[in-house]
Symmetry: C2
Subunit: 314 residues, 2 copies
Amino acid sequence: FQRILVAGGAGFLGSNLCRRLVNDGHEVICLDNFFTGTKMNVSDLVGKPNFELIRHDVTEPLLLEVDQIYNLACPASPPHYQYDTVKTLRTSFLGALNMLELGKKCRARVLQTSTSEVYGDPDITPQTESYWGNVNPIGVRSCYDEGKRVSETLFREFRVQEGVDTRIVRIFNTYGPGMHPHDGRVISNFIMQALAGDDITLYGDGSQTRSFCFVSDQVDGLIKMMNNPNAHPGPINIGNPNEFTIRELAALCIELTGSKSQLIQLPLPGDDPKQRCPDITLARKELDWEPSVQLREGLEKTIAYFAALDKSKF
Amino acid sequence: FQRILVAGGAGFLGSNLCRRLVNDGHEVICLDNFFTGTKMNVSDLVGKPNFELIRHDVTEPLLLEVDQIYNLACPASPPHYQYDTVKTLRTSFLGALNMLELGKKCRARVLQTSTSEVYGDPDITPQTESYWGNVNPIGVRSCYDEGKRVSETLFREFRVQEGVDTRIVRIFNTYGPGMHPHDGRVISNFIMQALAGDDITLYGDGSQTRSFCFVSDQVDGLIKMMNNPNAHPGPINIGNPNEFTIRELAALCIELTGSKSQLIQLPLPGDDPKQRCPDITLARKELDWEPSVQLREGLEKTIAYFAALDKSKF
Ligand SMILES: NC(=O)c1ccc[n+]([C@@H]2O[C@H](COP(=O)([O-])OP(=O)(O)OC[C@H]3O[C@@H](n4cnc5c(N)ncnc54)[C@H](O)[C@@H]3O)[C@@H](O)[C@H]2O)c1
Ligand SMILES: NC(=O)c1ccc[n+]([C@@H]2O[C@H](COP(=O)([O-])OP(=O)(O)OC[C@H]3O[C@@H](n4cnc5c(N)ncnc54)[C@H](O)[C@@H]3O)[C@@H](O)[C@H]2O)c1
Ligand SMILES: O=c1ccn([C@@H]2O[C@H](COP(=O)(O)OP(=O)(O)O)[C@@H](O)[C@H]2O)c(=O)[nH]1
Ligand SMILES: O=c1ccn([C@@H]2O[C@H](COP(=O)(O)OP(=O)(O)O)[C@@H](O)[C@H]2O)c(=O)[nH]1
Ligand SMILES: O=c1ccn([C@@H]2O[C@H](COP(=O)(O)OP(=O)(O)O)[C@@H](O)[C@H]2O)c(=O)[nH]1
Ligand SMILES: O=c1ccn([C@@H]2O[C@H](COP(=O)(O)OP(=O)(O)O)[C@@H](O)[C@H]2O)c(=O)[nH]1
């Protein structure tokens, strides 16, 4: 077994990752400041002998002895990362810096969860890792996009200059059980609205596209990347290449919940990317990874999770 | 008069800016860690009652009472910013953060010297401020380019969220008296080589272009931006829109020095932009600024400076 630190481990992806790693018998330290994550997300793990929960903010340095570090600490949903944009920038930059310094000190491998947002509003589709992106440095999404881009640069430089064993994954939109019901991202919004019979809030005309990866596939990808045999440092895209318009997604959510909800149109937020679809050739080749859960099946599981959720607790 | 902090004030641009501000009667504090700047650059100002020199690293917070802050602290030449890439990233990010926090505390206006490098290897020419750029997040220039991009984001967010009065200038290649002879940038290299009769080192075939702004024009632009009547926060391009190939520049340096130097070709460094030319429509309109010194005249002054320099002191 390995001693593994998961920064941001109480969040949506982090808690799913911790669960897998704990079940695989590793010694897992989950670090979080509980900004968007909750203790509830990992309540089934608390008390297990190979799981530990630490309240800590990644913008502060820390010292631990571990073998692997997954850095997921960063709000991922636009309303959350826009709540305090300066803090988001500090979390991205200083979080990456502190995890890399820690990795350097204790010779641990460090994996960064970057994002498809580094491609911005892409001119090419699907997006390959060699594409440099089309990102607004001074717009409403910049605190997240530029924070993630510069954290990739930090990862590159700690590898090249400081000799740290690094990995970068570019995560494309991921969903599934464990999402926060008021997270603000499209799948949680649409399912919550459909289940409640509320209007489905389409931003813009709904013709923009996204590609949705189910959480178990994403967690597989992260673990394969951390342990990939050729030590490929990335960046490698991890996402599901099946692309849907947001309008198609809304229709599917209504169909699968049997809801009577109506679509309403709200203004499109600034700099909202028009398309997003990963080219996963590199992940197939280097990690022998591809997604196995498609949207309809994944949505069914996610709807079951949201339907069973005690909404009074959020 | 104003109390003005110039971070990176002992460098090439900073020392020229300090000189202008001191001569205009302001109270100037020059802050520097002397990584690429030298005390010699401001030796004529030391001892003047309205000039003060502080040894400080912008990656550390500091507290002062000032009205205006110019943040120029960052190595600008590729060999210098690549000397310690992690430090360059820290300087860009933490330097911007600390200057903005200081500006917030003492209600000072803060100007960031960003760069044409935020456009990367641009797909459009000339580059307008609305262009989002074509930058490699994980290449040999990324520590500088992404560091500067994210510092622009910090400036935006401190303006929008924290209410700090900010300005962003995107500086295009600037040269003139005060440059370090071993700075590594093209104009200092070519003139030093031409004066010594050494080979002129052309990287690549010399067909890449740059636009060169004389330092006095640049200093005018920075001061006009800091004090612009409409409080336009920028970013605004400041540079000379006359574009030259690097081969043309070499020929001009040989001609003006009357040198017998030969051109030799060396490999083109990675990610070297193929073209760079500012669109200065916005500076003309908002600042009533345009450059007044053209390349031939500026080179003559710069050659006179390098010829008179005591090379044993560097
Ligand atoms: N889910 C996606 O679709 C997606 C897509 C691209 C990238 N990512 C990246 O994956 C990571 C996890 O995303 P998620 O969907 O689980 O988001 P999330 O918001 O559910 O989880 C983020 C976790 O990090 C914690 N955190 C935030 N700031 C912190 C700080 N300063 N110190 C310590 N902990 C902090 C939060 O409390 C939360 O538990 C993020 O880095 C995100 O950018 C996610
Ligand atoms: N000259 C150009 O062509 C050009 C073009 C684009 C942008 N810029 C920007 O203008 C600014 C000044 O450039 P320059 O040409 O004068 O470069 P320079 O290297 O001569 O000056 C930079 C100064 O900052 C100081 N410095 C560096 N790191 C520091 C730190 N951590 N703490 C305190 N001081 C530090 C250096 O010692 C030096 O005095 C830089 O921010 C640069 O990125 C310059
Ligand atoms: O983008 C953000 C915004 C806030 N926080 C943290 O979340 C907690 C609550 O922040 P909030 O601003 O809601 O409250 P306050 O700072 O006033 O306690 C604090 O530890 C913040 O540092 C965070 O990690 N990321
Ligand atoms: O209630 C919502 C939430 C999001 N969106 C759209 O769905 C897409 C995905 O948004 P999300 O916030 O989930 O992630 P993003 O990929 O934009 O970061 C974007 O085009 C949003 O404008 C929407 O139409 N309605
Ligand atoms: O990109 C850099 C590299 C170095 N330095 C500073 O310049 C000084 C000398 O650095 P160097 O690495 O040459 O020597 P050392 O750190 O070993 O003293 C130190 O204060 C560094 O922090 C800097 O500001 N920017
Ligand atoms: O000795 C030199 C130094 C630079 N260059 C080229 O001149 C251009 C400007 O280089 P510089 O380092 O001055 O600034 P940049 O604009 O690339 O940051 C680039 O294409 C360099 O490859 C060159 O041909 N010979």
